[in-house]
């Protein structure tokens, strides 16, 4: 039976968000996200506008459902998917990076909710970026996860530790790397930024 309690995905799936400085294995179930993709330097103009559009859609969807009495939920933390640059190849220029920024959203949110929110935001003149927001699912399964404390530029150290941990477990990394932002980079000092890093893994070939 459904309870009136507010849905908080971060709390509900707290096991999937468990992370310490030491890499560990976690199992991540299928998840739905509102997401926006783009190309360019993190923190650049296009990037910030995309995040603004993503949050605009996320809050509009939530409030529309809430107003209609369809249940309340917490808008989750910002997450992102980034290409894996630690495999040895030359790291391309920041302006060439493909990224996907995401906010985890309850499964009951539908394409119709999204379309309605986008239409309302367009009508308000909140920018056309909202049209790029999609509803997507991820199935990450088994992952290596760790908490990175420090500037985003230093993530490679933590990622290297995660990879060697995976290797020790007879696993190898596949796919893009996933970041869950626990701190607000606008205000928190780079040395204190907390980010959960997640790398999907599979059995390494014999």
């Amino acid at each position: 039976m459904k309870t009136a309690e507010k849905v908080d995905l971060y709390r509900e799936f707290s096991k999937e968000y468990a992370a310490t400085r030491d890499p560990a294995l976690v199992k991540v179930g299928p998840a739905t996200y509102l997401s926006i993709s783009g190309k360019g330097a993190p923190g650049g103009d296009g990037f910030s506008e995309a995040i603004g559009a993503l949050y605009g859609v996320a809050f509009t969807v939530k409030m529309t459902r809430k107003f209609a009495g369809k249940g309340d939920y917490t808008v989750s933390k910002l997450e992102g998917l980034w290409p894996d640059f630690t495999s040895g190849e030359v790291i391309p220029d920041k302006n060439q990076w493909n990224w996907q920024m995401m906010i985890r959203t309850p499964k009951f949110v539908t394409e119709k909710d999204l379309a309605q929110a986008v239409a309302v935001l367009l009508k308000r003149g909140k920018g056309t970026e909202v049209q790029r927001v999609r509803l997507e699912s991820l199935k990450e399964g088994l992952c290596v996860q760790a908490l990175h404390v420090g500037p985003y530029e230093k993530e490679c150290t933590t990622i290297a530790a995660m990879k060697s941990f995976a290797e020790g477990e007879g696993l190898k990394v596949h796919g893009v790397h996933h970041e869950i932002y626990l701190s607000d980079p606008r205000r928190v000092a780079p040395a204190k930024l907390k980010t959960i890093l997640r790398l999907p893994v599979e059995k390494a070939a014999e």
Partner: protein, 304 residues
């Protein structure tokens, strides 16, 4: 025209301290005390608390108790008379407060030899007939991280909450739900709290607080939501890092410790706060709130 100095602030607060000492039986209304020292009624109590280390209410209460203590020592009035004199309606309430302040019940205090007041940061104690020349100011916030910002006036949609500060959440919920479904919470929207009264001086049931969201000219007031303009101009801004219920400490430091050392005067409009993160998905200790204190244009400060 010279700029205001810490000395000026101390002189003005010193006048208030002296006035309170001389009128301990008076009503000592905040507006009246603020006017006496030429401070805006919006900011006076915070300046006072930040400089003296006690709120006006705490200061008045302590001085009345200290006067009661010297009456016990030097006079022959009964404890009940002294209690009434100190503004207490019952003997029990007086005894409780007195004990908390002096570590002994009034009757016992009368019989012991020692007469000592507990240390306070301002160094000011009840001394009948003595003028107050100096008092010690707190200066923890003297080197807090403050930026001066020039703001343009902001048009905001708002709902007014009248009641305990801790219950503003329900008002925010209503405002954000209505504005959110209509698409007003797109990128760049600011969430602003405008507090017309201070939780430390106004009874909880009477605190007026406006939950505000910045909107464009296309927003028309409806469904109980009203529109007002948050004044532009120069502001001193600092960030409060931590739970909302602890924000008073940062206000007192900014207004009572940083401002008096800044050479600036506060303007007669309320302070406001900007909420930078979502309290639903952020731990209380990670919450960030920008606090804006309005400044008079430099050089325009009137000296009286």
């Amino acid at each position: 025209m010279r700029t205001v100095t810490l000395h000026d602030y101390k002189r003005r607060i010193g006048q208030v301290l002296a006035h309170i000492q001389e009128h301990l039986d008076g009503p000592l209304a905040l507006d009246e005390l603020a006017a006496l020292a030429c401070f805006s009624r919006y900011h006076f109590h915070r300046i006072f608390k930040g400089m003296v280390g006690e709120s006006v209410k705490e200061y008045v209460r302590r001085l009345r108790l200290e006067r009661a203590a010297s009456q016990l020592k030097l006079g022959s009035a009964s404890v009940v008379e002294i209690a009434l004199d100190a503004g207490y309606e019952s003997h029990e309430a007086f005894t409780r407060s007195f004990k908390a302040c002096f570590g002994a019940a009034p009757s016992h205090f009368r019989s012991i030899r020692r007469r000592q007041f507990a240390a306070v940061s301002s160094g000011i104690h009840y001394r009948p007939g003595k003028t107050i020349r100096h008092f010690k100011t707190l200066h923890r916030g003297g080197n807090m991280d403050v930026k001066i910002q020039q703001l343009t006036p902001m048009r905001v949609a708002y709902l007014r909450h009248v009641g305990p500060y801790g219950e503003v959440g329900a008002t925010w919920d209503r405002l954000l739900t209505i504005l959110g479904k209509d698409g007003y919470l797109g990128g760049g929207t600011m969430l602003i709290g405008l507090c017309h009264d201070d939780p430390e001086v106004t009874p909880p049931s009477k605190i007026r607080y406006d939950a505000c969201v910045t909107v464009g000219d296309d927003f028309a007031p409806s469904g109980g939501i009203q529109v007002q303009t948050v004044a532009g101009g120069e502001y001193a801004m600092t960030t409060h890092n931590g739970p909302y219920n602890d924000v008073g400490r940062t206000y007192a430091e900014l207004l009572g410790q940083w401002i008096p050392r800044s050479g600036r005067e506060l303007r007669d409009v309320p302070c406001f706060e900007v909420y930078l993160n979502d309290p639903q998905s952020t731990a209380p200790e990670d919450l960030l709130t920008d606090i804006y204190a309005p400044l008079q244009t430099q050089g325009s400060a009137t000296r009286r």
